[in-house]
Symmetry: C2
Subunit: 342 residues, 2 copies
């Protein structure tokens, strides 16, 4: 399918040149995609050469403040969107990109299954995309892969599925500083509680994965319960140069449960703390049962960049509209452009 | 996609009522499919009630000697074909089923990627299917899932893939007697060599998985090397009631390697012997690397039955012709009819 697609014929705009946007930009260039524009609101990035900014040397494409400016002298087919986790914060950006006739692939977690967040907004995005004949998809490693696409793929060999459990256990010391800050590494327990109450803590996307899996398997989720607790270091922990004192927060244990007919049918967990033994688990109670581990766990940032880039060719073959991973017209895979490196 | 498809509107014929065909028949009935006919050449099965034969009680469908007889008073849309591993032995059956306007889903291993076996035959099947507006697909747990579909799905989160290794380690004592016989359990080493020389030993399908993965990733396989060695019991082994004397054959270690540009890029192994520690392994050398284990290994027969039944709704949505798993228009999954058991 994707075989033979000419990467350099697909103009791409990077919308949001943060850590993930930069990784994606590098991978797109490696794969031979033609990046024709970039947008970021950070004044320190505006007018800088995108290639220099992401560490691969000048490419003659300059970061602009907005999409109109970025597209004033370039034609693009795809926008890679990496700004925020929340639908409420991105939907105007998405609609603007669609308005420019761009296919949008986004790391926005809530966009991975947006109608459960705001059905009306999801409908507006879907209509706008259909009007312009383009596709909009939110994906990444999680939501997008580990706790939904991969889980569903594994159920292909299951006769009966009664329960799904998936967990990501992440050694936070292997991840970026912003990730460590996000999970409260080094805070005292009281500050952690305040940070939780202030909002914005923890992983966004459990609900998306729960509903995507449930809808695809035909389960009716009546309730999603969620929780987030600190992991307190009992002794000083040091891992990959990150040190946490005894009594301080080493990270978080977060969970979400999908309930159907009064029964817990899906349980998702993310344990992210300094010193954790990094691995992924999927357990599917089924005939036959599936009891899977990946060690170390699939690296989130690298996997998200891969997922976005690998999915572009398949997205362009999907019917116009708002697409979700369980309705993509094929499995994404590490596509042809790489192959065996020569 | 498959959601809302009415299982009982899809008439199915079982072509080959052996161990796997029987499991599939039971699962189809559980899922609410309407089985309208069955075919088997075994005179002991002919004219018997299919439901009785597969152990679920009378269903009023009788096994017939051939497809003409089976369809003389019934209308079907799908044929589930489970007779042989070799394309040369099944292609006339497949063409006959297609000639009756049936969509065919088959456990024939070579049919999973048939053009590498006989391009002309594959072309004939494809043309015939297109002429009749039906689809033909070979699938199952292996080939069909563990060493190809699942491997490819996992590469979705990989930026660069340089090598794929997949192994199934099977405790042969947990499998059917015909499986044990096929891998030479209990033979003396000399009889094993004779059995290998006589042909028909070991797993068929490594080549299919190697080429499916390679073609999808854009790798050019110049050579496939294969080998099969006995596992000799050094001491008496007993597992699940199956006993092998010291010095006798406990099973096999079989392997196949795909070479590209002089380099081993894919290695597949199946170790099946009495007393083996049952598990599946997938290792993908990539950024990020994937190092996966499933313990115990995914049960072959149960998984194959699931794979066949779960794939039917998606197959019916595919464009007519010869389909392979890497070109199926969505990921198969344990579809809606089961859901949470009530």
């Amino acid at each position: 399918m994707a075989v033979g697609m000419l990467m350099d014929s697909i103009g791409v705009v990077i919308y949001g040149v943060g850590a993930i946007g930069s990784q994606i930009a590098r991978l797109l260039l490696e794969r031979g995609y033609r990046i024709v524009g970039a947008v970021d609101v950070d004044e320190r990035k505006v007018e800088r050469d995108l290639g220099e900014l992401v560490g691969v040397g000048r490419i003659g494409v300059y970061v602009k403040r907005d999409i109109d400016e970025a597209l004033s002298e370039a034609e693009a087919r795809v926008a890679v969107h990496c700004t925020s986790s929340l639908l409420s914060q991105v939907y105007q950006q998405i609609l603007e990109l669609v308005g420019h006739g761009l296919n949008v692939i986004s790391t926005c977690e809530e966009l991975a299954y947006p109608h459960i967040v705001d059905a009306e907004l999801a409908e507006r995005i879907d209509s706008a995309a259909k009007d312009r004949g383009v596709r909009v998809l939110g994906t990444g490693v999680n939501p997008g892969f580990m706790m939904d696409t991969l889980v569903l793929t594994l159920t292909a060999v299951c006769q009966k599925v009664s329960r799904v459990y998936a967990a990501r256990v992440i050694d936070a010391s292997r991840r970026r500083l912003p990730f460590q800050r996000k999970i409260g590494v080094g805070l005292d327990p009281q500050s952690f509680v305040q940070k939780v109450q202030a909002g914005g803590m923890g992983h966004v996307g459990f609900r998306q994965s729960i509903h995507m899996v449930a809808d695809t398997l035909g389960w009716n989720i009546s309730e999603v319960r969620e929780g987030l607790d600190p992991v307190i270091a009992e002794q000083p922990v040091e891992s990959h140069g990150v040190r946490v004192d005894a009594g301080s927060v080493a990270g978080v244990k977060q969970w979400a449960v999908g309930v159907s007919d009064g029964r817990e049918v899906i349980r998702l967990e993310m344990h992210a703390y300094v010193g954790a033994e990094d691995h992924d688990i999927i357990r599917i109670d089924a005939v036959p049962p599936i009891n899977l581990e990946i060690r170390p766990g699939v690296h989130g940032d690298k996997a998200t960049a891969a997922m976005i880039v690998n999915t572009i060719p398949l997205l362009l073959e999907a019917p116009p509209g708002l697409i979700t991973m369980n309705r993509l017209p094929a499995i994404p895979h590490a596509a042809t452009a790489w192959g065996v490196r020569r």
